[in-house]
């Protein structure tokens, strides 16, 4: 990389060694917690904490796209920032390909070379004083690639994301449209040849037509570079289109995780069902029978006791306000955190035996 590369391709897929083999999840998150302290009052007493992310566990397999959905304020974006360590977690482990992030085998800097992030606001995520090729070439230079090689790589990547470098490389962000800027951001994320890309509402701010183009670009790049995505969005259609598996979050916790089609076809958690029924259907025969989700989510400062969803759940019973259901995932990585699916939980709809549950 130190030589003056005239040939373009340093953007080879799998630039980093696959440590754990194909069955080792690329990313494992264990009991991740982040509570934000509210400003102290005038006497210095703490007035509480926002439980933005409150103990989540999940795994991302190699080569898959994990969609993350939930209402605003459920902790999706905080989770993304915690994964990149942009916000320091209070508790929890992030294990990347079998190696704990921040340990001796995998320093934070090295992890950040293998995992990158694309932000929602395409304008705010580009430095207005740098040309777009300089923005894309910044990260490789941080990791010791010399300036000219980094610029060459940036131009190749701009071409890969559909921006002709001759027209765009030396332009400034304000001269580009939202969709073009988001392509630049994707090129920047690719510049370190990462294995994992976290897309935090990466297409949410784009027009529908541009959104479709960028989604297809993401799918193409994924195949070409062998990438793994964590795709965060509030748009259920987009998530369904792009994801292999989906994780549903509610008030800082994971309520359901599973295969994308299965989850969309037969959601098991009442919240997932309510969330899916909020998507308007084009088919008049396919009316929503369950009442749609009403009201805002409860305040994450003082979340409800027991199951956090019981205040809005149509199936809530007294046991739901006292017992917190735990998310237990099976070998397929499918799981639901609801007392109706826990054997003899005390809920009237709960299965009475393991056989019935299966």
């Amino acid at each position: 990389m130190n030589t003056h590369t005239t040939q373009s391709m340093d953007i080879t897929p799998h630039a980093h060694a696959d440590v754990g083999g194909p069955t080792q999840p690329l990313l494992m998150v264990q009991d991740l917690i982040k509570h934000f302290a509210l400003p102290k009052d005038i006497l210095g007493r703490s007035s509480g904490v926002v439980r933005a992310v409150d103990g989540i566990d999940f795994a991302v397999r190699k080569g898959e796209t994990l969609g993350v959905v939930g209402e605003s304020g459920c902790g999706k974006s905080t989770t993304a920032r915690l994964l990149m360590n942009l916000t320091v977690p209070d508790h929890g482990d992030i294990i990347f390909d079998g190696q704990s992030v921040g340990s001796k085998e995998l320093s934070l800097k090295e992890f950040r070379r293998q995992a990158q992030m694309v932000f929602q606001d395409s304008y705010a995520s580009l430095n207005p004083r740098l040309t777009i090729e300089d923005s894309v070439a910044f990260a490789p230079q941080v990791h010791g690639v010399d300036k000219q090689a980094a610029i060459d790589r940036a131009r190749d990547l701009l071409a890969r994301v559909g921006l002709d470098p001759r027209r765009f490389a030396e332009r400034y962000p304000h001269e580009l449209s939202g969709g073009q800027r988001q392509r630049v951001n994707i090129a920047r994320a690719l510049a370190l040849q990462p294995r994992l890309i976290i897309l935090d509402e990466a297409v949410s701010a784009l027009d529908k037509s541009v959104e479709a183009q960028v989604l297809n670009l993401l799918l193409d790049l994924k195949e070409e570079f062998g990438l793994t995505y964590v795709f965060i969005s509030h748009d259920l259609n987009v998530v369904r289109y792009i994801s292999d598996r989906v994780m549903v979050m509610y008030l800082g916790q994971v309520v359901e995780i599973g295969d994308c089609e299965t989850l969309f076809e037969s959601p098991r958690h009442p919240y997932t069902r309510a969330l899916l029924s909020s998507v308007p259907s084009m088919d008049p025969d396919n009316r929503t029978e369950e009442p749609p989700l009403s009201g805002d989510p409860p305040n994450p400062i003082n979340p409800p006791s027991g199951c956090r969803f019981h205040t809005r759940c149509v199936h809530a019973e007294s046991v739901c306000s006292t017992t917190m259901p735990k998310l237990v995932t099976d070998a397929q990585g499918t799981g639901v955190a609801c007392l109706m699916h826990v054997v003899r939980s005390g809920h009237s709809a709960a299965p009475l035996s393991e056989q019935e549950a299966a």
Binding site: T6, Q7, S8, R81, M84, L86, L108, K109, E110, R112, R113, Q116, M117, F119, D121, Y123, A124, S125, L126, N127, P128, R129, L130, S135, F138, A139, V142, H143, D152, R155, D156, A159, R160, V161, G162, D164, P165, R166, R167, F168, A169, E170, R171, Y172, P173, H174, E175, N185, R188, L192, Q213, N216, L217, D220
Partner: protein
């Protein structure tokens, strides 16, 4: 449409479309602002007077004449009259430009260097470091700037160097505060997070991503302080804490001529007019710069 180049061959480097850079835009916008350009011209003239003062001046600034004291404006040979010792006013106003500008600009330049470093550190570090630095800075805000400058000069003793030091200390807190607030703003932008996510250390991020975005606004603010600095420096000289007689400097001249205010009010007001013109020119310049730099996307 989806235009994924499967084989992006090496792109010829000759035909790259360049766009006008940010500073090019700023200077174009600035040139269209007539008031600001006029102010800039006035300042250029003042600088020319400061540099070539001795050659431009018609008389020796120190040559006194007991017979020609306090002559009015238009007196033959002395177009702007003479001062209380019979020295030519025009000469002393021209020669005084050098010292007056020097006393006005130097403290701001020094405070810009020190204050912006303090402010950027505080703004980028945030948290406890920010609190510690900014609360310390706030202590200086408890004193009115004029009093603080006088007190510091009084403690350090009279003289040009000491008044420069005291003025620098007076201007560090406001510049640090402005730097801190613009840095805090930039720091919360996603591109700084993206830079952090790429593994860059704080120093690299500040150098590449923060400085280019904050130095402009800090510079504009500092230019507006030059006017204040000139007035404060003149004030110190007026009080006998800055430049010593017989050196020509506008503030000092204002002081020595105040006894003549009933005899020759126009002569006595002359150094004040110069201070006024200079400070308003710097203010208009900084206004123009600020407007030119506020480019909306």
């Amino acid at each position: 449409m989806m235009n994924i180049a499967v084989n992006p061959a090496k792109v010829p480097a000759v035909v790259f479309e360049k766009s006008t850079g940010y500073w090019q835009n700023v200077s174009q916008r600035f040139m269209r602002d007539r008031v600001a350009v006029f102010a800039a011209i006035v300042i250029l003239i003042l600088f020319a007077m400061a540099i070539f003062g001795n050659q431009l001046a018609p008389h020796d600034p120190f040559a006194a004449s007991i017979m020609k004291r306090l002559k009015p404006i238009g007196f033959p040979g002395h177009w702007l009259g003479t001062d209380e010792l019979g020295r030519d006013m025009l000469t002393r106003l021209i020669v005084g430009t050098k010292l007056s500008l020097f006393m006005g600009i130097t403290p701001v330049v020094l405070a810009f260097c020190i204050g912006s470093v303090i402010g950027i550190i505080a703004g980028y570090a945030g948290g406890a470091v920010n609190t510690l630095i900014m609360r310390t800075i706030d202590v200086f805000y408890a004193f009115p700037s004029v009093l603080l400058a006088i007190a510091l000069s009084g403690v350090l003793g009279a003289g040009i160097t000491n008044s420069l030091i005291s003025l620098t200390i007076v201007f560090i807190p406001p510049i640090a505060r402005v730097s801190e607030s613009v840095t805090t703003q930039i720091r919360s932008r996603d591109f700084v997070d993206a830079a952090r996510a790429s593994g860059a250390n704080a120093f690299t991020i500040v150098r590449v991503h923060v400085l280019g975005n904050v130095l402009g606004p800090i510079f504009v603010y500092a230019t507006s302080l030059i006017a204040v600095s000139m007035i404060l420096a003149s004030g110190l000289s007026f009080l006998g804490l800055g430049v010593k007689p017989p050196e020509p400097e506008w503030g000092l001249m204002l002081n020595t001529l105040r006894t003549a205010i009933y005899v020759q009010p126009w002569i006595a007001a002359m150094p004040g007019v110069m201070i006024f013109i200079t400070s308003i020119a710097f203010n208009l310049l900084s206004d123009g710069l600020r407007t030119a730099m506020e480019i909306k996307n």
